[in-house]
């Protein structure tokens, strides 16, 4: 159950309270997020929409522990991450977060297998255990037959599937997707969304996704719109639509 009113129950997997984020640009303070609340349960699939600059990616970065808020708290599976040190946060990310980026961001000199194996290099798994995990992840994204291909030998959709395999290989607590279909044609985008839906439906993964595409957003359980630094559930306001966020 996803809530944005700050009244979620204590069993929420992700609990955000009073989140603020302010940037300084040219001496001017820009408040991107203002007292944002959010509760996400395990197995939820939520899409964030909003016009450019509304703070979608900032919210995703804060939830993923890549950035620190100016105020407020984020608690994931009982761990409050807002006050963690840099290195503790890095270890936390390795254990709990899977990232899926718009530009795939694979290492071009490594094969699909080696790219997927990267997060496991940080664990104590043996080589054979790592192999088992990587093959399973690549099997989930239907790329077992391309594991020894380099990114340049794969299509955009296949590259994104490798990114998804890399995100799920360490079985993280939740996945963060930043425009996962933004660089793909419609057919490939559909395939990727079907895969993401499968991760939610079949593997009970919790997914938070930023997208500009209402068709893609429609496949999530809930779509939340970022307006003036806070989240609004349901349809976007006319102003947001005019700004192009839900176009």
């Amino acid at each position: 159950m996803i809530r944005v009113d700050g009244r979620g129950n204590s069993s929420s997997l992700i609990k955000v309270r009073g989140l603020n984020k302010t940037y300084s640009r040219g001496g001017e303070k820009i408040q991107v997020l203002q007292g944002l609340n959010l509760d996400v349960d395990k197995g939820d699939f939520v899409a964030f929409m909003g016009p450019s600059g509304s703070g979608k990616t900032t919210l995703l970065n804060l939830l993923g522990g890549l950035d620190v808020p100016s105020a407020g708290s984020i608690t994931v599976d009982g761990d409050e991450i807002t006050h963690m040190s840099g290195s503790k946060l890095t270890h936390w990310r390795a254990r709990h977060v899977g990232f899926i980026f718009q530009m795939y961001n694979l290492i071009p000199v490594l094969t699909a297998y080696q790219n997927v194996e990267l997060p496991l290099l940080l664990t104590k798994l043996s080589k054979s255990e790592r192999r088992k995990h990587v093959e399973t992840a690549l099997g989930v994204v239907n790329l077992a037959d391309r594991m020894h291909h380099y990114p340049r030998q794969l299509s955009g959709g296949q590259e994104q599937r490798v990114t998804i395999a890399r995100a799920i290989v360490s079985d993280p607590t939740f996945l963060l997707c930043d425009e996962p279909t933004g660089d793909l044609d419609r057919k490939s985008a559909d395939e990727i969304m079907a895969l993401i839906e499968e991760l939610v439906g079949k593997y009970n993964k919790t997914i938070l996704m930023v997208t500009h595409d209402p068709v893609v957003a429609a496949r999530a359980h809930t779509t939340l719109h970022l307006e003036k630094g806070v989240l609004v559930e349901g349809k976007a306001s006319p102003q947001t639509v005019m700004a192009g966020g839900a176009a």
């Binding site: 990310r93 530009m103 961001n105 990267l118 997060p119 940080l122």
Partner: protein
């Protein structure tokens, strides 16, 4: 090592750049090694000089002589165990380019003072009995293909006899100290004294004396110089290492020259490799950001960058050392004995490898720290 594949995959990303960087490392190392062996060659005399030996020269300079009568006076000074003497001959063997040092030595006392230069007993006895006899260092014997029994003609070029002196090669000496001088040619001082013109007869180039104890060096040196003070031939007595250092200085300030060139090599290599690493890291900003996003710590990222630069340094350094080991003996031979032997010792090899690794670490450090401090959010925004 789990990150091995990642490190090597990144290294081979730009093969030509990698080859050029390793090549520049190797060439710089060859130059560095050459400088190191030249410096070592010039300072070897100082390093292996006997701590219990003093050298006495004419106070005016090394080419001025001293009377043979000084020997007995020196022997009376307490703390002096033995005294021997030498004269520089400076003759020419066949051609002037065939340079090697030739000394007229004091056969009776030479072995007692210069005990590290070893001649087989039977060869030495033959030498003592043979007025025209000679003993040569193993390096010079090998250089000219001489063997015991050979007749060696050496043309006088210093003393005005205008003749060729023929010597019988009675023995070959070896140094029992690693890197010791095995290039000298010795013949009997008595034979020298017979043949030289009267102005040089009974005159000595320099004395070398052995002390009862190295602790006596300062006292004995003062006593000797004091004994001959205000005479027509005053002396300058110094430790053998100080004498060797002074001799090397005749070639100029070799150490300063080598340090200067070495520093230029070091900083040029540092700039080349540092620039390569900086470009390499900048090209991979997004990838490094992703690594940090998925859980690679700042230290892991620093390690990856440093490991790359260290591998380049190690491979380039090893290649440079192999090239140097192959080239230096050839260069030494081509110099025809103009320089002391160029010896690539294990210590020099170790120094070269340390130099390479130091440059590798230094060149990877700044880009590595940059990558370590990079904020993931900012780096990903630039993609």
């Amino acid at each position: 090592m789990k990150f091995r594949r990642l490190i090597f995959a990144n290294l081979f990303r730009k093969k030509i750049r990698l080859i050029l960087t390793i090549g520049s490392f190797a060439i710089a190392l060859v130059l560095f090694m050459f400088l190191a062996v030249v410096k070592s060659a010039f300072s070897r005399g100082t390093e292996i000089a006997g701590a219990d030996r003093l050298v006495i020269t004419n106070r005016i300079g090394l080419i001025q002589t001293m009377p043979i009568a000084y020997r007995d006076k020196i022997l009376t000074i307490p703390g002096v165990k033995a005294v021997t003497h030498n004269n520089w001959f400076g003759g020419v063997y066949v051609e002037e380019k065939n340079f090697f040092p030739q000394f007229a030595i004091d056969v009776e006392n030479h072995r007692q003072v210069m005990s590290e230069l070893v001649v087989p007993e039977d060869q030495w006895q033959n030498f003592v009995k043979d007025r025209q006899g000679a003993v040569v260092g193993a390096r010079t014997a090998q250089r000219f293909g001489w063997k015991v029994g050979d007749r060696i003609p050496i043309k006088d070029s210093l003393y005005g006899t205008n003749s060729t002196w023929d010597f019988n090669l009675d023995g070959i000496y070896h140094s029992d100290k690693p890197g010791g001088d095995e290039s000298q040619f010795w013949f009997q001082w008595k034979y020298f004294d017979e043949r030289v013109p009267s102005f040089i007869k009974s005159q000595i180039g320099w004395y070398v004396l052995k002390l009862d104890s190295p602790d006596d060096a300062v006292r004995v040196a003062k006593a000797i110089d004091g004994k001959f003070a205000n005479s027509s031939t005053e002396t300058k007595t110094e430790t053998e290492s100080a004498f060797a250092a002074g001799f090397a200085k005749q070639f100029g300030n070799i150490e300063f020259l080598i340090l200067t060139i070495g520093s230029v090599v070091f900083f040029t290599l540092l700039l080349v490799t540092g620039n390569t690493m900086a470009i390499s890291v900048r090209e991979r900003t997004a990838e490094l950001a992703v690594l940090k996003a998925i859980g690679f710590t700042d230290r892991s990222v620093l390690f990856l960058v440093l490991a790359e630069s260290m591998v380049i340094a190690l491979v380039g350094g090893a290649l440079g050392l192999i090239l140097a080991a192959g080239a230096i003996p050839g260069v030494g031979a081509a110099l025809n004995g103009l320089l002391p032997p160029l010896i690539l010792s294990k210590l020099t090899l170790g120094l070269g490898l340390s130099f390479a690794l130091l440059v590798g670490a230094a060149s990877g450090l700044l880009p590595g720290i940059g990558a370590m401090r990079m904020r993931v959010v900012n780096a990903l925004r630039r993609v």
